[in-house]
Assembly symmetry: C2
Homo-oligomer: 223 residues x 2
Amino acid sequence: MYNRIVDMYTLSEENYLKTIYRLAQADGKITPTAIAESLGNNPASVVDMIRKLSEKQLIEYDKKKGVKLTAQGLKDAVLIVRRHRLWEVFLLEKLGYHWDEIHDIAEELEHINNDTLADRLDKFLGFPEYDPHGDPIPKANGKMAKPYSVTLAAMKAGSTCEVAAVRDTSSAFLQYLAKLNIGIGTKIQLIEKISFDNSLVISINGKEHTTVSQKFGDNILIE
Amino acid sequence: MYNRIVDMYTLSEENYLKTIYRLAQADGKITPTAIAESLGNNPASVVDMIRKLSEKQLIEYDKKKGVKLTAQGLKDAVLIVRRHRLWEVFLLEKLGYHWDEIHDIAEELEHINNDTLADRLDKFLGFPEYDPHGDPIPKANGKMAKPYSVTLAAMKAGSTCEVAAVRDTSSAFLQYLAKLNIGIGTKIQLIEKISFDNSLVISINGKEHTTVSQKFGDNILIE
DNA sequence: AAATAAAATTAGGTTTGACTAATTTTATTT
DNA sequence: AAATAAAATTAGTCAAACCTAATTTTATTT
């Protein structure tokens, strides 16, 4: 029963863990370059930190297989993600922020650690399952609902869906969505796919017909 | 209307500002040594930071007069204190922490900045006037109620008072208070002052007769 | 396979904010 | 006033986490 005390990690270490975790959700191989791009750091700096985290047994690095979180690293990364998503719920529901403002603040709040803080916050918020962007919130034991994975762009023309989550959480994208009156739970019908560039003609909540890009459709997750 | 963006300060800078502010409430002259002791740093390090903060015009240092916050430094220090005390209210009232657990967590939360975060939190908490230790919470404009300043030890024997605040916020002191059933608002009657060592015989909420030290009495503020 | 491009790594440098040790200044005793 | 003690300061060092530039390794083209 020897859980590592996450408080012992530096801000940078936590950010690396979180980034590696996030990259692991998506692609296959996690390379130093990918981490560097994701963090906005120089690859040389990433190599340094890979060495450091490897020594701490939080990751394993093999040139062939790329970077992988160890069991301990995964546990700690998930805890950081848990804190991030819980704070996002707090900021939106309790403090009245809009969903395009909460990410950056949660990036700071997620690093605050204390034995019981996340659990108390979780309870205070009523044990939410998903954060305001539709991402599942890990439970205290590390378990979490499966993330949504089907995109709007992958739907076939004619069918209708409900927005479950967004992949991109940048304020640029979220503000665009707000302008289109799209949020979590919004019903969207895919009217037509333009074969030329995969643009999507959609109907939002049964109203306006709007055309959006493939990139847009790739960043909307549906259920 | 050019308010400095406090986000631009490092963690260390903020901690120095806050410490200098706190020392300014108490004593007269603020020396490098006093700051060093308060922060647990080496005086040599403090001298470095005094230079840095002076260059940024947040403090003024004169060997004769010691360290003084400038108008800008004071404003920023008060904002940090505001955030600290608001988070303490949140942790106690919303998350159910005890008053001996909240200080350290608030020490971390206070550094998180965002244009509207403190104000939203303030509103969410119902614009509290005092934090759980009885310290006044600065308003958004920097104004705050006058801190309590009369100590239990300064009362004359026979008189009764109500606990308004505590000076020492260490968990050692706060846990001792909890054991004695003393909290903010508790009624205390000073039965007798022992002239030998200034110990105080008190009656708590009209019940037990207990003897406490002068140091104890110095750290209880009454109204 | 050789040439080229991309990725990874090494070597060395920078900044922040600490430190220790030595020195200078200021204050307090005798 | 001289001696001593305390405080302040300077000088130089260190670790963390970043950087650039150069080199090596790996992958991709031709």
